[in-house]
């Protein structure tokens, strides 16, 4: 068939003896070499493949949705399946975390490791908004990597705090305490607030306190913060004689907190998360470097119900 076509004005390339297609770009010509026949069959094979693909899988976009494909496959469906498979794979660990007594959790290094990893993942979803990535906290939001714990730093105390929240409205078991606004409500005069501020600063060796400041502290503050300012966990009162300050360590910041204190709030996570996840979060927070040993925890857990009543 090809031979019937008249070959008019087609140059034959000397080196190869092949005819050119007649095009020329800046002296570059194209040889008129036929494609191998198998290449054509390969092309047909890809067409057949594409046809099968279009029939089996979602392919052609229509007005409101695309064609669905004979297999009924969707990427969303696949994701659901994968997530379900993941959840099923995790189920034994979740079960073990939820049923192992808290005191025993740390003895099982493997389980504890999985709990910490699961807690780290949950932390990134639920906690970073306030406590920051890697739990570094910020002003008003506690740093969870240090060894200062307002409500206790052993596994049981952390789990309790997570479960019931802090000053969470409507939760009966929530951790709660309230510091009076000594300045705003006129309990102390401005001069007295300054004296107490100086006394609090002196607890960490900053500046010097007056006898009046010490007396004001003993009368107004010691009942909750302790005579030495060391804080009392029953009330979630911060210790005032250490290096960790939730609302800042400057004179102005401390004065402002005495004049009109701010109070942090954390949700009671039992309303949103299952017990296993809460326990894993507790394990993660406990693992960040400031977690306390269990011995104290047992005492505290025993003491707690009385305070909550």
């Amino acid at each position: 068939m090809a031979n019937e076509i008249p070959q008019v004005g087609k140059r034959v390339d000397d080196a190869t003896g092949t005819e050119t297609v007649g095009h020329e770009w800046d002296g570059i010509e194209e040889l008129n070499t036929p494609l191998p026949r198998w290449w054509l069959w390969t092309f047909y094979a890809t067409c057949v493949w594409a046809l099968g693909y279009v029939i089996l899988y979602p392919a052609i976009p229509l007005l409101d949705k695309g064609t669905e494909g004979a297999l009924g496959w969707t990427s969303r469906g696949q994701l659901t399946e994968e997530l379900a498979a993941e959840a099923a794979a995790r189920a034994p660990v979740m079960e073990a975390v939820a049923t192992t007594p808290l005191e025993r959790l740390q003895e099982d290094a493997g389980l504890m490791q999985q709990a910490v990893a699961g807690g780290a993942a949950a932390f990134r979803v639920h906690c970073v908004q306030c406590h920051g990535a890697n739990a570094a906290g910020s002003e008003g939001y506690p740093n969870l990597t240090d060894d200062e714990w307002l409500w206790g730093g052993d596994l049981a105390a952390i789990e309790y705090t997570l479960t019931n929240g802090i000053r969470h409205p409507g939760a009966t078991q929530t951790r709660t305490s309230l510091m009076p606004a000594f300045g705003r409500d006129g309990i102390l005069s401005g001069e007295q607030v300054n004296s107490v501020t100086n006394y609090v600063l002196s607890l960490t060796g900053e500046g010097s306190a007056t006898a009046a400041g010490a007396e004001l502290f003993a009368n107004n503050c010691a009942v909750c913060h302790g005579a030495d300012g060391g804080g009392l966990r029953q009330f979630g009162t911060p210790s005032l004689n250490d290096a960790v300050w939730l609302y800042g360590d400057s004179r102005e910041a401390i004065r402002r907190q005495i004049f009109e204190p701010r109070h942090g709030v954390m949700p009671a996570w039992e309303e949103r998360l299952d017990p296993a996840t809460i326990r894993m979060l507790a394990a993660y927070v406990h693992s960040l470097g400031g977690g306390e040993d269990f011995v104290e925890a047992v005492e505290l857990a025993a003491a707690e119900p009385n305070e909550q009543d």
Partner: protein, 485 residues
């Protein structure tokens, strides 16, 4: 359609060209024997290597060559490569590349002619053709014959042998990625990983199609290497050349006897074409089809001997020498083609790389420590005002035996550390850890320094607690709120 340009899309040869079957004739000679040798060696290496054993003690596999993807280790006899040492593999690949440059610039397409897997397997399959259907003429007759039961049986038998070879080829590949005897058992028991079956299926199909049916079409249409080689060769590279100045005008012995002056040495017997595995006629000159396997040289030398003319009408020769010889000028000895600045530079780079890799391999440490600081928070102030920095420290034990390793703080006065395994109360400047054989131990290390410590540089050092006492250290920075140097 534009009337003035009616044939623009049509070649006089047709739009598409069917493959012309190639039925190379059996030939014997030095190059054919060399090809046999190369085939024996390359196939022997490919099929045999996974079965070599190598004792590495109780903590490492005993397969001499093993790409252990699951555990991310590469074993090659006494060498064990970890993922972070992948530059060794990269170095080997670069050496392979430069090696190809070196070989191509010196001896042309020797890779294509002798050791390319496509060439070796095509050669093997062509021997199967010969074994089942007979030599060239018998095969050509059979191809032209109608599809009788006899032909169908023969074809099925031949394809069955193809399939066995192809399956064996695909099957050998996966042996490099797992313990070979275990893999064979698992494979037949249906217990091997799905990827093993998929790999075998894909490689079997590829070998069956590319070796059994595509053959020279792969070289001519699919392979990029001949195109690259065109750029690597020059007038000093050896290539298979038909010496037309000596061979033309072609004519039979009888004709030449009548009129010796009018005819050259070529007796136009077509043997060079008959033996060619890609069906090329070397007398047309070099081409992408010519893989320079030298079989036409064997064939021609044989004919020249029979007709009592000197050998080498077709021969390996450089373009420079060919031009000189055509003019009757003296040619240079073959070693001059090999020893010239270009090949020497390639060789120096190639061997320099090889020596460098060997040096690195011989002097590398088998104990390593790395330390990544927590960046958020960079530091934590504790209740007593002391400052804590957290690090993720990795201890690498690259020996095939468990070892204890002593990690120490260097610098950072007053500092101490503990880890998840140790209570903060037991913080110390030196901690000892047991590291499994051939493993990396990941540790959370908490470094604490007293109140008032300035931000400063320090280092973690590790010392293996065995006879060799290998050490390594890594610089780190201790961050504090008080800033510092």
């Amino acid at each position: 359609m534009n009337k003035t340009d009616p044939a623009i899309h049509h070649s006089p040869l047709g739009d598409y060209q069917a493959r012309k079957s190639v039925h190379p004739k059996r030939i014997d000679g030095p190059f054919r024997r060399f090809k046999w040798l190369i085939m024996l060696v390359t196939l022997g290496i490919y099929y045999g290597t996974p079965w070599l054993r190598w004792d590495r003690g109780p903590y490492a596999p005993d397969q001499a060559v093993l790409v252990d993807v699951a555990n991310r280790r590469f074993y090659m006899f006494d060498i064990e490569i970890w993922p972070h040492e992948f530059y060794f593999v990269a170095g080997l690949l670069i050496m392979a590349g430069i090696g190809l440059f070196l070989v191509t610039s010196a001896v042309g397409r020797a890779w294509c002619g002798y050791s390319c897997p496509q060439t070796v397997w095509t050669d093997l399959f062509q021997h199967v053709d010969r074994f089942v259907d007979g030599d060239r003429n018998a095969r050509m007759r059979l191809e032209a014959a109608p599809w009788t039961w006899g032909k169908v049986t023969r074809r099925l038998a031949k394809w069955a042998i193809y399939l066995v070879i192809a399956f064996w080829t695909g099957g050998a590949w996966i042996m490099y990625f797992a313990d070979a005897p275990t893999m064979v058992r698992d494979f037949w028991a249906g217990e091997a990983a799905p990827v093993a079956y998929i790999t075998v299926a894909v490689l079997t199909a590829a070998t069956f199609i590319l070796g059994g049916f595509m053959r020279e079409q792969v070289c001519i249409y699919m392979c990029p290497w001949p195109r690259i080689q065109s750029a690597l060769m020059d007038e000093h590279s050896l290539q298979v050349t038909y010496k037309d100045w000596r061979g033309e005008k072609r004519g039979s012995v009888k004709k030449a006897a009548k009129d010796p002056a009018a005819y050259g040495d070529c007796v136009d017997c077509n043997m060079c074409v008959a033996v060619c595995p890609t069906g090329w006629d070397i007398r047309k000159g070099p081409d992408i089809s010519c893989i320079t396997c030298g079989l036409c040289i064997d064939a021609c030398d044989r004919v020249m001997k029979d007709v009592d003319r000197p050998r080498g009408l077709i021969d390996y020769i450089t373009l420079d020498d060919a031009e000189a010889e055509a003019k009757g000028a003296p040619t240079r000895p073959a070693w001059r083609a090999l020893l010239r600045p270009r090949t020497i530079v390639y060789f120096i780079v190639w061997s320099g790389l090889g020596l460098g890799l060997l040096f690195l391999l011989g002097t590398r440490q088998h104990t390593e420590i790395t330390a990544a600081p927590d960046r958020n928070p960079a530091y934590t102030v504790m209740r007593d005002g002391s400052v804590r920095n957290n690090f993720t420290v990795k201890l690498r034990n690259m020996e095939a035996r468990p070892r204890d390793m002593l990690v120490s703080l260097e610098g950072l006065e007053g500092g101490s550390m503990w880890s998840d395994e140790i209570s903060a109360d037991d913080a110390a400047r030196q901690l000892e850890f047991a590291v499994d054989a051939d493993a990396t131990e990941t540790l959370r290390i908490y470094v604490i320094a007293p109140r008032g410590t300035a931000t400063q540089d320090f280092a973690f050092t590790v010392e293996a607690q065995d006879e060799q006492r290998e050490t390594d250290s890594v610089d780190a920075r201790f961050e504090t709120p008080s800033g510092g140097s």
